[in-house]
Symmetry: C2
Subunit: 304 residues, 2 copies
Amino acid sequence: MEYSSKRVRRGFSIDTQNKVININGEIFTDPSQAKVSVFDRGFLFGDSIYEVTDAYEMTPCFLEEHLDRLWISAGKLFMPINYSRDEIASEINKCLKKLNSPRAYIRIIITRGEGEITLDPSNAGRNNLIIICRSLQVNPSWWYENGVEVVIAQTKRTAIESMDPSIKSGNYLNNILAFNEAASKGAYDAIMLNHDSKITEGTTSNAWLVKDGTFYTPALKAGLLGGITRAKLIELCNENSINVKEEDITIEQLKGADEVFLTSSTKRIIPVVKIDDHIVGSGKPGSHSLNLLNLYLSKYQLPR
Amino acid sequence: MEYSSKRVRRGFSIDTQNKVININGEIFTDPSQAKVSVFDRGFLFGDSIYEVTDAYEMTPCFLEEHLDRLWISAGKLFMPINYSRDEIASEINKCLKKLNSPRAYIRIIITRGEGEITLDPSNAGRNNLIIICRSLQVNPSWWYENGVEVVIAQTKRTAIESMDPSIKSGNYLNNILAFNEAASKGAYDAIMLNHDSKITEGTTSNAWLVKDGTFYTPALKAGLLGGITRAKLIELCNENSINVKEEDITIEQLKGADEVFLTSSTKRIIPVVKIDDHIVGSGKPGSHSLNLLNLYLSKYQLPR
């Protein structure tokens, strides 16, 4: 059966304003023109790695740490990177100058490259480097006034033996399935458990709790991505003689906490006030979480 | 540091001959022109599903069964499909006519579409449908004369609780890591175990053994993709009063088998003669495997 070509999809459903895309050094300000080959292994297999950070007044936050992690992800996937750190930094700067926004979202994607369709990574050409920048507002004040709700996902975080969750890769269906559980219940995010039912992380964030003045976050061996913000906050706690522990956390411990929050590079600290049907602590963002946020923003001179 | 634009990658490393690509109804015969948006969720997250089959004299093999499975994958990912089965079949036919090859490889990819960068699937526009066809030779005769070698991968097959392996998706790093273990040892493929150390499947194939005249293949609940060829062979065994069992298989049982083989839609049956350092049976492709291949090709009038 033939069908009308009018039914064939042509539209582009994203906001075309305030975006700059850099593909292997070439700049695009019209998102619909920014394309990669269907033979790119990132497209075919999710055979890519990425990092996300933000920039404030043209300066990317913790870029060295993000590039360190990018190289760690590449190493764990045996993926050569044909760009130097300086080259990537330079391409980001080109985007930021073009975007010219007070705050910017930056996504750095490196794929294994293009090749014949086979799982064999040795068949890939050179990497494709894609940098996507868009203007970014400061985080909304309601996060700090009301907090957000999360669910405990039924979808388990991928086990380390299958795909080390510390690899920040283009394989995100595990997290999308968990996020979908949250979205279907009107929640902001989902907390994922490992196969031993211990807390790992949110779908794009790390998870924390405060109990009796001590901060707790799952240890990396629970199977999670070691967030840059997570690492900076642990350092900050230690500098300020605030008790902080990395250890296994159960659902009961999370729900029984005085305060719970999520952390990510662009979101900083987001207070969590409800987990499934359970109200956390007072039901309002807690003072320990907000104090830590203020210490963090102040130390690094970051906007909220 | 600025760097020379000459270092920026432009080349395309794949064979540009004998390929036809169809993107939402538009035909490309130059692979370097076949591109998708960097905002496509298939590229960003591997948020896509796919099927592979071959066509013989312009007729795709078991297309109905492959489309059934495509819809099952979509359902498990809550992914709407905006194309009808007839529309997809029609687009495949357009490619096959243009390719005009006695045998063709067909890859059907459906992504969740394009959207702002967020895990939230509801942010996606309409699907992108990409069909990649290329001419395909008959399978090499040395497979049947000498067989292939496989390894048992250290990388465990993703657990059902994290990402159901029966979803044929664009998240393939788990399989790529396993394949890489095989490639680094010069083997043809890797057999993946589940978290209970039972056999699941090859990286793009199902695994079988023959012992005392009975055929065994792991049951779906071990965590594997239910291959179309696998299902057809089970049916064929039953029709011909050949004993066939779907059950848990250990490494020891696989290595102790009289014959071992892999199956896939395009590869049919590939005899395996070595697993790690262990020689299987006589060290040559076995008569049970080759007889089953001949029965299969004969029943469905397929080329090798």
